[in-house]
């Protein structure tokens, strides 16, 4: 059975049109995004791995090398099973840094344009034979079906269709953030076609050629050599080498890297792919042995590479060979399209752009898009030229394996990316050059020689055959051994650049900790960013890129915070990296958005960025990192929940931490405060905190702030935060600060109430004395009034009235003192200057009203001119408390002496009694609240603690000196009235 060329051409044209249609309706949004984002669509799109080598070549490979053809898929299976530790970290890296190809990945990690260019060139050289192989498989399959040599024009037409498709659906967007959903859907469809056709042909082999599994089984029993031929090469051939090569190819082949990482639509899909893709490969290969045996059973007179077509021609339904041919077209077109897209992007970013960067006056997006499209055409046509030059007897598998060994040379580089931080660009380039040299000599040279492209007398395959060495084993081992050795040695003996170290930290799998952003961007606003970039990108593109980055980060155009601008700079670099490659993007950003080298960056400036990155990458943290992150979150929660206001600032006084209590106290939300300079915070906080941060004081007690018409009181504390990156700060170098805000307002109110209660309690104790003291003059007044009724003598009347007035003045004095003492004062509101002697006299007279006060002799020694500044009422309360205690402790007829004098810068007050003294163990706790040695009802236990607190508030101190059986001396030291003290107290 033969077919007309026109039918096959028409069928393949129709198939490619269906492919166009699928891609078109997907891109137009007619197919819901949720369908194309489905993990199984992603798995099917990865089926681009199975090219015509798998589709046609596997049968021939199975005939020659038995089950070794499975090794090409088992290595992929192992690579995909290792998804969590191998593919997922690479996917994360490519998404984070917008890397679209292996060249991007290596150029980013090794911060080398040369590395990117070398990888691109090597990929191009290693892949062209593979593209040529696809074209050849299609033309060869036409020859099988038509029994005539197809015209060259047909291959050219096929290539033209692929160029059109790749341009229309694979190069629609410049940025990798816009995925080519149409391409993904079309590639998934291609895999579905390949799978369906191969299973149909396999089914035909079993049920059509062998009349069922029973017949096949009987034939196998009769021909044990058929099974033996499959197993034997596994035991003797380069089985392990092939598994290893396919392991590397699984993610390093340009098309695999492109579909697995660059066109990945949903992060979750790779989890399904870890088992779904190996399952797809298993199904694709399930039919290979039955097809092989069917071909042998039919004794087909053709290359076993094309048994897939051959058995369908020998008696099958007429549509099956055409469908099988379409499956082959599908396998070839998928490979050529995706490989070309990947190579065009690599060539653009690592060869064309570095060699000839476009004029900024041109539209860079347009330039990039059409440059990439032109490269697609050039690469496919180069594959066509290679196909024309290639020796057509070269096996399909031979050409495929040449590419596999080529991409295996990137394995040491990948180890450097993910696992070895010390690896550097010199090691990578040296290793790659070593591996390329071995590969070129042993694999590329023989192919070119066989095809007559070059002339050489060296015949390495023949030499290896003579030495009894397997070619693939030998080349794979030695190319990688030399590559790995050079990579290791050069990485160990040479140093990394700081940029490379930073990239290594970002890539290293064991370290998911984000790399802090360092430095300060010289440009001060997004507008200045756009202005800076316009000289390279052009005005419109610069504006668009800045706008896109601002949108990504949710920042406004008027953003000026240095830490946020640094994030913006980094985001722009990442976005540009997807468009023009990481190294070009890095260069442009470094040139156009320079960092201010003078401005040192502290770790504190990167805290927000680090925390965001940590939150993003939390799920990937392992071991110690995960533990450290848990610890970090715990400490952060402590800071956030701390009932004290916490405000941490970077050395440039930019707020980096603003906890919940601080939000409540200040009414300023953390998102408003973070990243702002202290002095730009809303009033009164800006002035207050910035002033405190600049002052020499480490503590400011009792600072009053007017908030919403209400006075509030705070204790401020601060401490410097040494930056771990600046272990030896230079003289005068600013460090970060943590400022604690202790809200005293409620406490002060409570204390005022307690003090008032204490005073009322004292008054209760004074009541009897007061009644007695008032009772006497009242009695006197009553007698005088009685006498006045009878008295006629004016002089006596005058004297009586005077006596009555004297007695009433006495009563008024007592009442006035009591009222002064007992009224409730607002917190700290009564600061003023007063005479010390006055309050001593007043307090003494009050205490004398008490029963104990009456029994002792109080003597006062105090100069009249001593002036104090403070809360008169509260200091009077101190004196009353001290004197009451002294009187209570004294024996009847005892003496209480009060001395007050000025010395140096202090006013000293001593209250001495001759009582029983205070035991030492009680002295230690006598200032604690509610501590009392008095009987219940006689004291609250608050007196001395209040006295202690009030003295402290007046920046004074109180001391006790007591000898049991001799007496007690309580000494109070208060600052003298000076202007400075006046100012401090007013604060």
């Amino acid at each position: 059975m033969t077919y007309e060329l026109e039918i096959l051409f028409g069928a393949s044209l129709l198939y490619l049109l269906i492919l166009f249609l699928i891609a078109y309706i997907t891109d137009s949004g007619l197919i819901p995004d949720s369908w194309t984002s489905n993990p199984f669509v992603y798995v099917l799109s990865l089926g681009v791995y199975a090219t015509t080598w798998s589709y046609y070549g596997s049968v021939g490979f199975a005939q020659r090398e038995g089950f070794q053809f499975l090794a090409i898929y088992l290595g992929v299976t192992i690579a995909f099973l290792l998804t969590p530790v191998l593919l997922r970290p690479i996917l994360q890296l490519t998404r984070d840094y917008q890397l679209t190809s292996p060249a991007d990945l290596f150029a980013f990690r090794y911060r080398s344009q040369l590395a990117g260019a070398l990888v691109t060139l090597f990929m191009l050289v290693g892949t062209l034979p593979y593209i040529a192989l696809q074209i050849r498989a299609v033309t060869a399959s036409i020859r099988v079906l038509t029994q005539e040599v197809p015209p060259q024009l047909l291959a050219l037409g096929f290539c033209t269709m692929l160029i059109l498709f790749a341009i229309m659906f694979g190069a629609r967007h410049v940025s990798p953030r816009d995925k080519h959903r149409g391409l993904v859907a079309a590639m998934a469809f291609e895999s579905l076609v390949k799978l369906t056709v191969l299973l149909l042909v396999g089914g035909y082999a079993v049920f059509g050629v062998f009349s069922g599994p029973g017949e096949l089984s009987r034939w196998l029993t009769e021909h044990p050599e058929a099974t033996r031929a499959l197993y034997e090469p596994v035991r003797e051939g380069p089985w392990f080498t092939l598994i290893f090569l396919s392991f590397c190819a699984a993610f390093l082949l340009p098309r695999q890297f492109h579909m697995t990482f660059a066109e990945n639509l949903s992060l979750r899909s790779i989890r399904t792919a870890s088992w779904g893709f190996p399952l797809l490969l298993l199904l694709l290969n399930l039919a290979i042995p039955p097809i092989l045996w069917a071909g042998e059973y039919l004794q087909l007179d053709m290359d076993a590479d094309y048994f897939v077509l051959g058995i369908t021609l020998a008696g099958g339904p007429e549509w099956l060979p055409v469908l099988t041919f379409i499956g082959g077209v599908s396998a070839a077109s998928a490979m050529v399209i995706v490989t070309t897209l990947a190579l065009s992007s690599m060539s653009m970013n690592h060869l064309l752009l570095p060699a000839s960067y476009p004029d900024p006056k041109l539209d860079i997006y347009y330039w990039l898009l059409w440059g990439r499209r032109l490269l697609i055409a050039v690469i496919i046509m180069a594959g066509f030229v290679f196909y024309e030059l290639l020796e057509h007897n070269q096996g399909l598998v031979q050409l495929g394996l040449i590419s596999f060994v080529a991409v295996a040379q990137f394995l040491p580089g990948i180890i450097g990316v993910l696992y070895w931080r010390r690896a550097n660009r010199i090691g990578f380039i040296a290793g790659l050059l070593g591996g390329i040299s071995v590969w070129s000599m042993t694999l590329l040279l023989p192919v070119l020689k066989n095809s007559g492209i070059i002339e050489t007398s060296i015949d390495i395959p023949a030499l290896l055959q003579t030495a009894g060495q397997d070619q693939w084993q030998f080349v794979t081992f030695w190319s990688l051994a030399i590559n790995g050795l050079l990579f290791t040695v050069f990485s160990l003996i040479t140093r990394q650049t700081p940029e490379e170290q930073q990239a290594a930290r970002a890539c290293h799998m064991g370290n998911t900790m984000p790399v802090p952003l360092e430095g300060v961007v010289a440009a001060g606003s997004p507008d200045q960013f756009a202005q800076g970039l316009s000289s390279t990108l052009g005005q419109d593109a610069a504006q668009k890129e800045v706008a896109q980055a601002l949108e990504d980060l949710g920042m406004p155009w008027d953003e000026t915070r240095p830490s946020e601008l640094r994030r913006l700079r980094e985001r722009i670099e990442r976005n540009l990296s997807g468009m023009i490659g990481p190294q070009m993007a890095h260069m442009i950003i470094n040139q156009q958005l320079a960092m201010n080298r003078q401005a040192k960056t502290a770790l504190a400036n990167s805290i927000r960025y680090i925390e965001e990155r940590l939150e993003e990458s939390r799920s990937q943290m392992l071991g110690l990192n995960a533990d450290l992150d848990t610890l970090r979150r715990y400490h952060r929660q402590i800071l956030l929940d701390l009932p004290l206001g916490v405000c941490a600032v970077a050395p440039d006084h930019t707020v980096v931490i603003w906890n919940l209590a601080q939000e409540v106290i200040s009414g300023v939300e953390s998102r408003q405060a973070l990243g702002r300079k202290l002095n730009s915070l809303p009033p009164p906080w800006g002035e207050m905190l910035a002033g405190f941060a600049l002052s020499q004081d480490e503590h400011v007690p009792h600072m009053g702030v007017n908030l919403d018409g209400r006075k509030r009181w705070f204790n401020l504390h601060k401490a410097t935060i040494p930056d771990p990156d600046l272990m030896m700060p230079e003289a005068g170098h600013k460090t970060g600060l943590v400022i604690l805000l202790e809200d005293l307002t409620d406490l002060e109110t409570l204390e005022a109430e307690v003090a008032h209660s204490d005073r009322l309690a004292s008054i209760g104790r004074l009541a009897a004395g007061v009644a007695h003291e008032i009772g006497n003059p009242v009695t006197g007044i009553a007698s005088l009034a009685q006498n006045l009724r009878e008295e006629q003598e004016p002089k006596v009347i005058e004297e009586s009235i005077e006596a009555i007035l004297q007695q009433t003045r006495r009563i008024s004095g007592i009442v006035h003192s009591l009222m002064n003492y007992s009224r409730s004062g607002s917190v700290g509101a009564e600061y003023g200057t007063f005479n010390f002697r006055e309050i001593i006299d007043e307090s003494t007279s009050l205490v004398r009203l008490t029963r104990a006060g009456k029994q002792v002799d109080c003597s006062i020694s105090c100069p009249d001119e001593i002036m104090l500044i403070g809360d008169r009422q509260r200091l009077s309360q101190v004196l009353v408390n001290l004197l009451t205690n002294a009187c209570d402790a004294s024996f009847q007829g005892g003496k209480v002496e009060i001395f007050a004098f000025e010395e140096d810068n202090e006013v000293h007050l001593e209250v001495m009694d001759q009582g029983q003294g205070i035991p030492e163990e009680i002295q230690q706790s006598m200032f604690e609240p509610f501590f009392t040695t008095k009987q219940p009802g006689e004291g609250t236990g608050l007196g001395l603690s209040m006295a202690h607190k009030i003295i402290q508030e007046h920046n004074g101190r109180i001391e006790v000196d007591s000898i049991t059986g001799v007496g007690t001396r309580i000494a109070v030291h208060l600052p003298r009235h000076t202007d400075q003290q006046n100012h401090a107290l007013k604060r």
């Binding site: 089950f67 499975l70 090794a71 088992l74 299976t77 192992i78 995909f80 099973l81 290792l82 998804t83 969590p84 530790v85 997922r88 996917l91 994360q92 196998l220 044990p224 099974t227 033996r228 499959l230 197993y231 034997e232 596994v234 035991r235 089985w239 392990f240 598994i243 992060l267 979750r268 989890r271 399904t272 870890s274 088992w275 190996p278 399952l279 298993l282 290969n285 399930l286 042995p289 799920s619 990937q620 943290m621 392992l622 071991g623 995960a626």
Partner: protein, 66 residues
């Protein structure tokens, strides 16, 4: 809230499975299953076994995604 699988444990299990795959297909054990007397579909069955274990592991750790 149910306990989520530990990512470190997932990596350990992944590596163990990969070692199992290598042991099965990349060690002298190959000589055992690649014996002439074995049915032709045995390599496929072993391959399927590895895939199934992988799928089970993936399902077990489905909460630990990116």
């Amino acid at each position: 809230m149910p306990n989520r699988p530990d990512p470190e444990q997932q990596n350990e299990h992944t590596l163990l499975l990969a070692f199992f795959g290598i042991f099965l297909f990349g060690s002298p054990l190959t000589l055992l299953w690649a014996s002439d007397n074995n049915p032709w579909f045995l390599p496929y069955l072993l391959w399927l076994l590895v895939i199934l274990i992988g799928a089970l592991l993936s399902r077990h750790y489905r909460h630990h995604d990116l």
